[in-house]
Amino acid sequence: MKKIFIIAGIVIIVIAAILIYISKRPPEVVEIAFWTTETQSDRMKTIQLLMDTFQALNSDITVKLVPVDENDMPSQMAAASAAKNLPGLIEGSSELILAFGEEGIFDIKGATKMVKEIGKDRFYQGALKMVESPDPGNFYGLPYHGWVQGIWYRADWFDEAGLAPPNTWENILKAAKTFYKPEENQYGILIGTKAENYAEQCFTHFALSNGGAEFNSKGDLIFNSKEILETLEYYAELAKYNPPGPHTWRARDYYLQGKMAMFFYSTYIMDDLALAEVAAGSLTNENYSELKGSTFDPKLVDNTRIATTITKTRPGGYGSMVALGLVDQDNSAKNEAAQKLLSFLYEPSSYIIFLHMSPGGMNPMLRDIAGKPEYLNDPNGIFKRYGREKIEEITAGLDSMGSFTVVNGKTFPASGRIFAKQIIPRMIYKVTIDGMDPKDAIVWAEKQMKEVIGS
């Protein structure tokens, strides 16, 4: 009997303690998650710092920072949707934002309201167009940062060989042939041949310079065209001067090691090229120090130039934009908290801290930020190393960058679904590695695209 009283007493004390704890908790703390595609640990630290600052300013909101690889974002989102555990805010490529927008997971009203609050005219208009829903004036997300793609090349090698800069199809192929010396373990160019997004980014650059497109302005699929076939045939020819086997962006290390003449890359490479220690950190052959070309060349920045525009029938530029999307969490308090966080991320100080994680790689989507002295004064001095002129040249490219998604000012979100399904990368792999005929590969890709659009 005594035991029963003791046990009952303990139970009452525990319950009372729990009740006191619950009653003393600060009321209504809203918890949201922010999914970022900046998965590298140093970037995570910076973003976490921003989140901590935000939480200090908004004690009623808790933000959980979750790193998600861009390629895993769709599967993670499906899992989160099934578990009713959606994030409040996500960061992803404009293609991904459009694809998710089409699936109806975004708070479009919230995003449109935020565009107005931040100032519609402050955004680069080309960028804003890339996240507009088919209903004009409504937005799936907000442009946050973007990069421009170009061919980075060894200007000293080009000068020595008397070659013109790689800004036309002809010049690129000629240079790739000239510098392709496999017997010396040296290669002409790096273009994507592995079935990953990088391949599509390289291919799109060429396709845009030849007038190739996925859709016409009426929204009809026109991928199976003369322009795309020419591009794919040219691409397959150029891929012969790649290092052996299928490759993705990681093979850029061969350039840093002095074993390659040209490579496609975004402006993200700027800090790697400029800072010897950063470059040394990205080399993958430090274990084989006896191999030639394994030391970092400090003159690499001076000897490297970029060609952002490629011309065949017209000048083509390519870039990619990363946007922020407000996910509809079916809870007004959570949706409002996510809007607050988004607003905070656009405040000049937090915005510049975010962009400085990769100077040159992450370019602002608000015009006024690009001209701010605080922005041009990055902690590693990268912008100073390249000079204001070169930086402005690159950011100017943001206004003219094209993509398959926007045709004559109209947005086709289906293009985002095609991108997410990696149809073009798989087509490129089939042609360059499996040896499939380009015509057959385009027919295959068209069939896949029709399935994706139809579904």
Binding site: A78, S81, E183, K194, P243, P244, A420, V452, S455
Partner: protein
């Protein structure tokens, strides 16, 4: 019927019936867990395969459309063939090498325990570091394999990307899997080898059997069931193997990799993914049935 009659009437029940009831009660929690974790997902998976599932969770019944789509896809048949080659190569390879190493490790020699521990390393090493190691070895520009082949031994004057080239990637993946998993085969075989009575070998030797004869007449019959079990386990593991293959060479499209590309790239097609899983499940069930009934004759 008799056993459970006591459940429905007031008749006194026998000890046997009581024991039977107790038995059911004792296994009820396990049955519940198995039902929840195994039977329910399988049934739900079959159910999903008849639907088009949207990201928002909405489902639309589409009958056999997912199955038609799958069976009309030529890449699917290619991946079935790749899976069969992968299964035969890895199961036979890892079992044979496991057997050979186990026989060797069963002999008496100095530092035998150290040697046994060392051969287990490939199995225990984290997959991601092992895969990167192999990728470094076969890197076409900086890898040690090409360096040795081209610059040291001059076997060939061309550098090859063995992991990237679709003609050689499957072979590399098979060798990688054998290397990584032979230790577990070896471990299981050794444990059985140690329990074989030495008298049997002596008797066989008296009957005039040489080393080979002793192996075929004593060792093999003794470890037959261990080998059979190993093969079944390896079949089940390897047909579902994703990470080893995908991390090393994503261009080798075995069934799980095919499923990933077909259903999990882009917006997830859960209905189609469920369909492939059902087909994969049937394929595996058939393979095991055939193996158990026709090969092992259990």
């Amino acid at each position: 019927m008799n056993k459970h009659a006591g459940l429905f009437n007031k008749m006194p029940i026998s000890i046997e019936q009581r024991e039977s009831r107790l038995g059911w009660k004792l296994i009820a929690p396990s049955l519940g867990v198995i039902g929840l974790l195994i039977i329910y997902p399988i049934l739900y998976n079959i159910y999903l395969s008849f639907f088009d599932v949207k990201l928002t969770g909405e489902k639309f019944f589409i009958g056999l459309a997912n199955y038609e789509k799958l069976l009309q896809d030529t890449a699917f048949y290619g991946s079935v063939l790749t899976t069969i080659i992968f299964l035969i190569g890895t199961v036979v390879g890892s079992t044979l090498i496991g057997l050979l190493v186990a026989l060797l490790m069963n002999l008496q020699f100095p530092f035998r325990n150290v040697a046994r521990a060392i051969i287990l390393l490939p199995y225990f090493a984290p997959i991601i570091s092992v895969v990167f190691g192999w990728q470094f070895i076969f890197d076409p520009v900086n890898g040690i394999y090409n360096h040795v082949m081209v610059e040291v031994l001059h076997v060939t004057d061309q550098r090859h990307n063995l992991i990237g080239d679709p003609h050689t990637a499957l072979l590399v993946v098979i060798i990688f899997d054998i290397w990584r998993h032979f230790p577990i085969s070896c471990l299981l075989i050794i444990s059985k080898l140690q329990s074989i009575n030495r008298d049997q070998y002596e008797a066989a030797a008296i009957d005039g059997c040489g080393p080979l004869g002793r192996f075929f007449h004593v060792t093999l019959p003794e470890i037959y069931f261990v080998l059979g079990t190993l093969v079944i386990l390896r079949l089940i593991w390897n047909i579902n193997k994703f990470e080893d293959v995908f991390l090393l060479a994503p261009n080798v499209q075995t069934l799980p990799i095919f499923t990933y590309y077909a259903a999990f790239t882009g917006i997830i097609d859960q209905g189609f993914a469920a369909t492939i899983s059902v087909v994969q499940f049937l394929f595996l069930s058939f393979l095991i049935y055939f193996y158990v009934k026709k090969v092992l004759k259990w």
